[in-house]
């Protein structure tokens, strides 16, 4: 268990999703990464029936890295999110609430693909699909010997740049940026998430954030000509 950063990958102009994945796979193998199987992260959202007051959503996620765990995030509709990490039997419990919480099947979304080990890093190339429709590529990168992003962000960023070939902003990814929280004394404070000890639920929160973005966009991911140019400039040889 280390620190994980989830990074959306802009598909270069003129390429399909499969071609982009193929391109990244070759890059990783050329770097010396070892292919170590497959992975899958899925998300299903349950919405409360209107007669039960303001609409609430329960996002239920599974990650093959934690095969007997179900992650749930309850969105109260008032900007508050409550996470629950439970045994995977929790799935059966959700089925007992079908008269109040119903699954929005058409928004079932998943990211799946190959898993690579590269020294102390674990890298996963995920194709995101919703109802069999391709939505984009998410790269999950984990630096395993460390549990605080602050100490290893530069290293993660370096690896992302060296194989992604795109410039990754120096700032911490959106999920880790300082957010105002209300402390026990009722005062607002800035909470620097990059100093927190990283937990599996943080990976899940990042997936949910990106999945929510993909669900909102109905069109294919925008092709960025900038990123394709930059990937040519890295000087990496692709076998």
């Amino acid at each position: 268990m280390g620190v994980t950063v989830l990074q959306p990958y802009q598909i270069p102009e003129g390429k399909t999703g499969a071609q982009a994945i193929d391109f990244l796979t070759k890059r990783l193998l050329a770097l010396g990464a070892v292919h170590t199987g497959q992975f899958l992260v899925d998300c299903e959202t349950y919405i409360s029936a209107p007669q039960h007051g303001p609409s609430k959503a329960v996002h239920v996620l599974h990650d093959s890295e934690y095969p007997v765990t179900t992650f749930s995030i309850l969105d109260t509709g008032t900007g508050k999110q409550i996470p629950l990490v439970a045994d995977n039997l929790f799935d059966l419990l959700m089925l007992k609430m079908t008269s109040v919480y119903t699954s929005k099947k058409q928004t079932k979304i998943e990211s799946k693909g190959a898993r690579f080990e590269y020294g102390d890093f674990l890298i996963k190339l995920g194709s995101v699909t919703m109802m069999e429709n391709f939505k984009g590529i998410l790269i999950e990168i984990e630096y395993r010997p460390c549990v605080v992003l602050f100490y290893c962000w530069e290293m993660i960023r370096e690896v992302l740049q060296s194989f992604l070939g795109v410039t990754v902003a120096k700032e911490y990814p959106g999920y880790f940026t300082s957010q105002p929280v209300v402390n026990a004394m009722g005062q607002q404070q800035l909470h620097a998430k990059q100093h927190d000890i990283y937990e599996p639920i943080d990976t899940i929160n990042q997936y949910l954030e990106h999945f929510t973005n993909y669900r909102k966009q109905n069109i294919m991911p925008q092709v960025s000509s900038q990123s394709s140019n930059m990937s040519m400039n890295t000087g990496m040889r692709v076998s």
């Binding site: 497959q38 899958l40 095969p67 007997v68 996470p83 045994d87 039997l89 799935d91 609430m97 109040v100």
Partner: protein, 213 residues
């Protein structure tokens, strides 16, 4: 994990345990005689050489109203005095009506989870019905679980000062097993016979107890 195939990945999240039926017998014993029962159980159960395992738990019973259905009942249990153990979330279904079965049989889903569960359930729409503290001993015999526990009322505002409900201990003999394993009921009956006359473990018909939750 490393050499996991896609088929395994796909099945990994579906391989939920099928031990979802609870077989249950209940009884009670007066506090002055509980020592005898503990001795008897130490002799009958596994790990006789060890001191009996103890527990001290708080159980919160909650329910969610559902239209045209019986309310969904869930319980959250947490160990008092230790902060490291996971919380236990439990769903218990309506008992089966089959009179021929030797034990009470009801569906049960037991889920270990994080301490956020109470807030999660409250926001989900569950309301607290009642709560109590259960303190006592736990024994195992194969896959059977035997608990001997005193039940305490929670006095509002006095978390550390609870009052026993009565001067007896609740004795429960239970097994979690997959659907259709009826032989376990007979196994439990035989074990219950060995505890007589100290305690009479019986199949309790909740309907006859009236509307006690």
């Amino acid at each position: 994990m490393n050499s996991m195939s896609m088929a395994q990945v796909a099945s990994s999240k579906e391989s939920v345990s099928q031990a979802n039926q609870e077989y249950l017998l209940q009884g009670s014993i007066i506090a002055s005689a509980v020592e005898h029962l503990i001795h008897r159980l130490r002799g009958l159960c596994d790990n006789v050489e060890n001191v009996p395992e103890t527990f001290h738990d708080l159980e919160v019973c909650m329910s969610m109203r559902q239209p045209n259905q019986v309310p969904l009942q869930v319980r959250v249990r947490r160990a008092l005095g230790t902060r490291d153990l996971p919380f236990q979330l439990r769903y218990i279904g309506q008992p089966e009506l089959d009179r021929s079965r030797p034990t009470l049989v009801r569906s049960s889903i037991d889920v270990g989870c994080t301490s956020t569960v109470l807030e999660f359930l409250t926001e989900l729409g569950c309301r607290v019905d009642f709560e109590y503290v259960s303190q006592g001993f736990l024994f195992r015999k194969g896959r059977m679980k035997i608990t001997v526990a005193k039940i305490f009322k929670i006095i509002p505002g006095k978390q550390n000062d609870s009052e026993p409900v009565c001067n007896s201990y609740l004795v429960e003999l239970s097994v979690l097993a997959p659907n259709g394993q009826d032989a376990i009921g007979d196994e439990m009956r035989i074990f219950a016979e060995q505890l007589k006359p100290l305690v009479h473990l019986e199949k309790i018909d909740y309907k006859r107890l009236g509307n006690i939750p």
